[in-house]
Symmetry: C2
DNA sequence: GCTCAAGTGGAGGGAGCCTTCCGCTTGTCG
DNA sequence: CGACAAGCGGAAGGCTCCCTCCACTTGAGC
């Protein structure tokens, strides 16, 4: 009997090697092109046959899930790290800016994050904790007086969906556009007197 | 010989009828679902065969062009009408708000406007005139002191692309989200002291 | 070194898409 | 009314995609 890790049977070393190459290839390709890449293409880039790919990931959705699970973890880390910042407004700004930049650098992640595949991210618990942390961040920023009182944590979805709409020819151009967008948003989020309409949504899933 | 209108041979009356139904059906369907509708589906909803559709519109792109040409005209009208408003800031706000609402109400139009089909809108001249009018509007709003000096007319693309990213379950929910987004944008566009980074782009075409 | 389950690659099935082809129908004009 | 070009519907071609099947290979444990 082979070794066991976390309850899952250990793969043969060559199989593990192939699996790693698949994930790496998929990550790169999704980031560069988006989720509209054929499984055949991913397999080709990884130097394996499609059957090998499907043996590890029985569906395309499961591959997407695997590939972006840890990137979601990175997102959560950004939020949690920001909680250590003594300046609540700066922490808030950093979270918004860094999340948008991550999103802009990775087209596939944008799509996955906004759940083009509805159940693609079963890391719901982690996501929920991150959202809770962000809500705490929002509260502190409001108490500091820099963040407008009618900002709601759900507005982060608004920001991310809006940011997801930005696409330019190159990644750098996209990131530059994203920076300007974020700068405008942060302007608006600072305590200004007039008020935008209240929270309307119920936003569910988006794609692009 | 049949009558001639604008250099194009007149269609037979039944053919014209079918053509009208095709365009109407395509408009509705694109608006509701987006551009990812099969030609077969459009033909079915119009009550004609695919061949009839292809006789009028030899390619899907040509159909998209036809369907959205006049909606682009509507956009241009919004901008030109705003020039009559004596209050430059209000005119500016109206243009931004109305364009975003039109975009949010019509998913297909969003996609077509941001030129998923690169040459889909050969109405370039009209578009250019509208952009010029908007630039004039921006200038006036700046002179009135309400619009921040570092706003550039290209920022309208930023707004529209961002707005295009918003998708909710229902049209009304999407429009509501769009309203909040626009309110935030208009906050930011008012003369605030800190400055976002300068114009970076170079944005070319977007899809979602 | 032998055995065999685990692993592999490539062909191909089934579905959906855009587009074309072709034999039949119908409005239009003399 | 009669002739015929214009118009018509639906089948089918060609393409891509996700996914499955199956005969062959290879690493792991004795």
């Amino acid at each position: 009997m082979r070794g066991v890790t976390g309850g899952t049977t250990q793969l043969r070393v060559d199989a593990q090697h192939n699996r790693d190459r698949i994930v790496a290839s998929a990550r790169e390709t999704f980031a560069a092109v988006g989720l509209d890449v054929s499984m055949t293409e991913i397999a080709r880039r990884a130097g394996v046959g499609v059957a090998t790919l499907y043996r590890r990931f029985p569906t395309k959705e499961s591959l997407v899930t695997e590939v972006f699970a840890d990137q979601l973890t990175n997102c959560a880390a950004v939020v949690h790290d920001a909680l250590d910042d003594p300046d609540p407004w700066r922490a808030f700004c950093r979270v918004v800016g860094e999340l948008c930049e991550m999103q802009s650098r990775d087209r596939g992640f944008s799509a996955a994050f906004l759940s083009r595949f509805p159940n693609a991210l079963p890391v719901d618990e982690e996501r929920a904790r991150a959202e809770e942390a962000f809500a705490r961040l929002v509260l502190r920023a409001k108490e500091s007086g820099r963040l407008r009182p009618d900002f709601t944590p759900e507005d982060l979805n608004l920001v991310l969906m809006a940011n997801n709409g930005l696409v330019a020819d190159s990644v750098e151009a996209t990131v530059a556009a994203s920076r300007r967008l974020v700068a405008y948003f942060l302007q608006a989020f600072q305590a200004g007197d007039p008020l935008p309409p209240p929270v309307p949504l119920g936003l569910a899933d988006a794609l692009g």
